[in-house]
């Protein structure tokens, strides 16, 4: 327990000392969203119709961008080797690391989201649905994505490959999340979609730590 807490605190400290790098995915997120009104036209109806999808696509892309950092430094400086040789099982450490990483990326995203909802003329119901789907969906992205990160951590320039591997896997999540927001825009109930996303999340949290730990070991070879 002490060991896991120390991993959490260490990752927080490291993230704090690299604040600038943490801001980059967030700025990318905002910039991508700014592009859409410019490309499609500023009419509020159009923006409202595509708003949920645009925010979700941008969120996935920006999370993918920041994800590379998850194990990179630990791999490069050998901390990962020491984690593997510590008495705490690797998959537990991995869970803590992924969770910390998610926290570091989702909090700024949440803080900036009201502004984006304004930009894209989302109604209040859509905004609530957006928040809920982001809250349930982004940890799913982090946990499943961490498998890909763990696999590519030993490769030079694994960034594009990472996106190539992970984007197809996130398609179901994108579909359910945007469908929930669309239902909200028509004032229909959207808890089925939320329930499915929650189920996927639980499933991935249960299975992915093992896969991540295995992948990290493969990368160490």
């Amino acid at each position: 327990m002490v060991a896991l807490k120390s991993v959490f605190l260490k990752d927080l400290a490291l993230a704090y000392r690299q604040r600038a790098e943490l801001m980059q995915p967030l700025m990318f997120f905002v910039l991508v969203i700014t592009l859409f009104p410019l490309a499609i036209g500023p009419s509020p109806e159009t923006l409202q119709r595509i708003g949920g999808g645009v925010i979700w696509v941008a969120a996935i892309l920006s999370l993918l961008l920041g994800m590379e950092r998850m194990f990179r430094d630990d791999f490069a400086d050998g901390s990962l080797e020491q984690y593997m040789l510590s008495p705490t099982p690797l998959y537990m450490i991995v869970v803590v690391k992924v969770f910390t990483h998610w926290l570091m990326h989702i909090v700024p995203l949440f803080l900036i989201s009201p502004l984006l909802a304004l930009f894209l003329h989302l109604t209040f119901d859509m905004y609530v649905a957006l928040m809920l789907t982001l809250l349930l969906g982004t940890p799913l992205i982090s946990f499943v994505g961490a498998i890909g990160v763990a696999l590519t951590v030993g490769l030079h320039r694994g960034g594009v490959l990472l996106a190539l591997l992970l984007i197809p896997i996130f398609i179901p999540l994108l579909i359910f999340a945007t469908s929930a927001i669309e239902s909200a825009s028509m004032l229909l109930p959207y808890h089925p979609q939320l329930a499915i996303i929650a189920a996927l999340l639980l499933f991935s949290v249960a299975l992915s730590p093992m896969a991540i730990a295995y992948s990290l070991k493969v990368s160490q070879n």
Partner: protein
């Protein structure tokens, strides 16, 4: 009981067989010195022994636990010191060592850590981010683990003498001897001649194609 037991290890890298049929049995107080030319697989062997790489075939037991099956138990008394130093560049020396102690169940107070750092000539540099230290100083921070880890039974050291000055090499050799005399077991590789007043068993790895 033997501290380290390796049976019929075979290692393959990129489908080239580096070595085959390596058997090692070490009991407490023994020093194994692994030699061989570049590319013969010294580092690979050490990484297999501590369980970081999987051998193509064969088994490794540390203190009776299979390292590739039961890593948490087997790594209890194990200290591995590899090419990568395992210290975060952004944290200070003190933070790094505190973190490492918490990770590995080593009880050490802040004073104790500062004391060890002072012993290694790092007084006054305890709270500076490691990236601002020189290569040799960073190496010392990593080596401090050897001074902190009191109850380890097996040290696996991969080239511990690189980037160290003469004094520190002597100190480290003394530390290793002390550890061996107190019943510890050491597996190590090095490019320079070992001047330790202690019986050394040698394992030579042949380059093979």
């Amino acid at each position: 009981m033997s501290v380290l037991l390796a049976q019929q290890l075979v290692c393959e890298k990129s489908d080239r067989q580096l070595f085959s049929d390596i058997n090692i049995e070490l009991s407490s107080g023994q020093l194994l010195y692994v030699t061989g030319e570049n590319g013969a697989g010294k580092t690979s062997l050490l990484r297999i022994l501590v369980g970081l790489s999987a051998p193509a075939t064969g088994k490794v037991h540390i203190n009776g636990f299979d390292i590739h099956k039961d890593m948490p138990s087997a790594s209890q008394g194990l200290l591995y010191f590899g090419h990568k130093q395992g210290i975060s560049q952004l944290l200070s020396a003190l933070e790094n060592l505190q973190f490492w102690c918490q990770q590995h169940d080593v009880k050490a107070t802040e004073e104790a850590i500062n004391g060890v750092l002072a012993e290694l000539g790092l007084t006054g540099l305890e709270d500076i981010a490691v990236k601002n230290l020189s290569a040799g100083q960073q190496r010392r921070v990593a080596l401090a683990k050897l001074w902190l880890q009191q109850d380890a039974s097996l040290w696996v050291l991969d080239e511990p003498f690189t980037a160290l000055d003469v004094h520190l090499i002597a100190e480290l050799e003394a530390k290793i001897t002390l550890f061996l005399k107190s019943g510890g077991t050491v597996v190590m590789t090095s490019h320079q001649k070992l001047s330790i007043d202690y019986p050394i068993s040698n394992l030579h790895l042949d380059y093979s194609w």
